[in-house]
Amino acid sequence: MRTSVEIRSAPHIKRPRSVEQIMRNVVLSLLPVCTFFVYQYGISAAALILVVTGACLLSERLFVRLGGQAGDLSDYSATITGVLLGLTLPPGFPLWMGLVAGFAAIALGKALFGGIGFNVFNPALVGRAFVQAAFPAAIATYTPSFLPGRFMEFIPSSLAWPLMAPADNTAWLKGMPLDAWTGATPLAKWKFEGTLTAVGDLLTSLSGHLAVGPSPALILLCGAYLALRRFMDWRIPTAVLGSAGLTAWLIYAIGGAKYPDPFFTLFSGGLILGAVYMATDMATSPVTPRGMWLYGILIGVLTVMIRYYGGLPEGVMYAILIANATTPLIEQITQPTPFGKGASLRAGRAASYTLHPDYISREEAAAKTSKKRFFKNKPKKP
């Protein structure tokens, strides 16, 4: 037996806070959201979340074994990836495609970069981007929520055979007591048909048979819990939502009726889920406070731009992925000046982490393997 010696960089916090603890709390806070999702869509949603999470865990195990990478299943990070990925997919998404998505998330999003803490992009979103490119039709097919009998039978498209095209839900939906269902999310309805959904309905996700994800209000509540217990930084969601709202309001004020009102933009689609749970992923977002603001603003503005001027109705995923890519750059240009060093002594780049104890430095995740992050902060000689 060998014991692993953990070498961690300062600050040496005595409080019992580890990667595992943070991740466990994130999973706990996601439970109400998942319950709500299952309540909306029944067993299809439950099966989807389970299958995707299972695929993520299995792939994680495979790659940790194969590649000798840091991390293992007990750190909950693969679980979070799986649950979040499941929540972003439409409930009637074929289960075998869910398997593909889960595998792609871990393989392309995480294992490729060297495992936990080394990934540049949010794994859940990498998985979603892969299936978005591979199965553009299936990922745009939504079914209405709160169907009668949703706890007794699957949505037909869920049960497609592996590699086979999903069944068409139209005939199945005809048998349901619904009037005038068009099969589009509120965002797609706005983009392609020009009809808006009431903001109140979007906020709760409860009224009617809207084809939406879990209630934004609930997600905000769960996010608030995480932020209050300091498992998540409040700056990023605030910056994302604030900048998205502001941009949407500006465009609305100038462009007028052509564009939806800012609240519709805020509460529709996956913006809230993305802002609270995906943009705040510790490995892929900046650690410097100013960097967090910059990063959040970038996501908010990009989301609105992609939604309003792009070909697809939803833009949160690509906005976050693009911002993930800029994270190292943002961190570099927003390094805080260490205490005692004035503007004239900017060379002291070596002290690259904020000294606030509530921010877990990223090297902790890598502590066991003693690998270096890709920026080597060599102090320049003055």
Partner: protein
């Protein structure tokens, strides 16, 4: 054996030129030989591909001939199909049924789509003054999205009888061909776009409109010339 073994003295300009000239001459012979050898079958291939497309969009057709429309009128194009067109002239193909009657006219149009230029061939029927079929000559649109323009049944239904009537002076189309949002087609000269592939649909509409605007005013007054010609 090894080129490095050669003496390191400078090679004379004459010998350099001689080598290059020799190589160029040799290569020239090879190229011309290959060109001569394959010319016939390549031209036959090209003609076959064109005929196949035309016969698909004008199903009654059995033979075809190439024509050119100029400001003066229309005349048969000399030489091979797919050949060069004189300045200001527009190329089109007249397709004849087995009994020699005019089955339809095929015209090529092009417009920029999502990825690259979409080149289409559409069938024009002088009897109903409408477009009654399209085929794609070349495109690089996204597979599964943009290439629906050759598979999407609802979209192809636009081209059963797309109205391209000329106005009273026979100078331009009475109604411009327009691509409208999916599900909002109201008139016979409108094209119902594919939902999700609007850019490609619009390119098809623009290609048809541009080419019909240019060609039909020259073609229609002289249509009898085509009917009389027995192929």
């Amino acid at each position: 054996m090894n080129p490095n073994d050669q003496a390191p003295q400078a090679t004379s300009a004459a010998s350099l030129l001689k080598t290059l000239g020799l190589v160029s001459a040799l290569c020239g012979i090879i190229i011309v030989g290959a060109y001569q050898g394959t010319y016939e079958s390549a031209a036959a291939n090209r003609r076959l591909a064109l005929e196949r497309t035309i016969f698909r969009i004008v199903p009654a057709a059995k033979t075809m001939s190439e024509w050119q429309a100029t400001a003066q009128g229309i005349r048969p194009a000399g030489g091979e199909a797919g050949g060069k067109v004189g300045a200001g002239a527009i190329k089109f193909y007249a397709a004849y049924a087995a009994d020699g009657s005019l089955a339809g006219i095929a015209v090529e149009g092009a417009a920029t789509g999502y990825a690259d230029v979409v080149r289409i061939l559409y069938g024009y029927s002088p009897d109903c003054q409408c477009i009654n079929g399209i085929g794609v000559v070349a495109m690089k649109e996204t597979p599964g999205i943009g290439d629906k323009i050759i598979t999407d049944k609802a979209f192809l239904a636009n081209f059963v009888a797309l109205d391209v009537k000329l106005d009273r002076e026979l100078a331009k189309l009475a109604n411009e061909v327009k691509v409208v949002k999916h599900g909002s087609k109201t008139d016979a000269w409108q094209i119902d776009a594919i939902s999700g592939a609007t850019v490609t649909s619009r390119a098809v509409g623009k290609a048809i409109n541009d080419s019909a605007q240019a060609l039909l005013p020259k073609l229609l007054p002289n249509i009898e010339q085509l009917r009389n010609k027995k192929s």
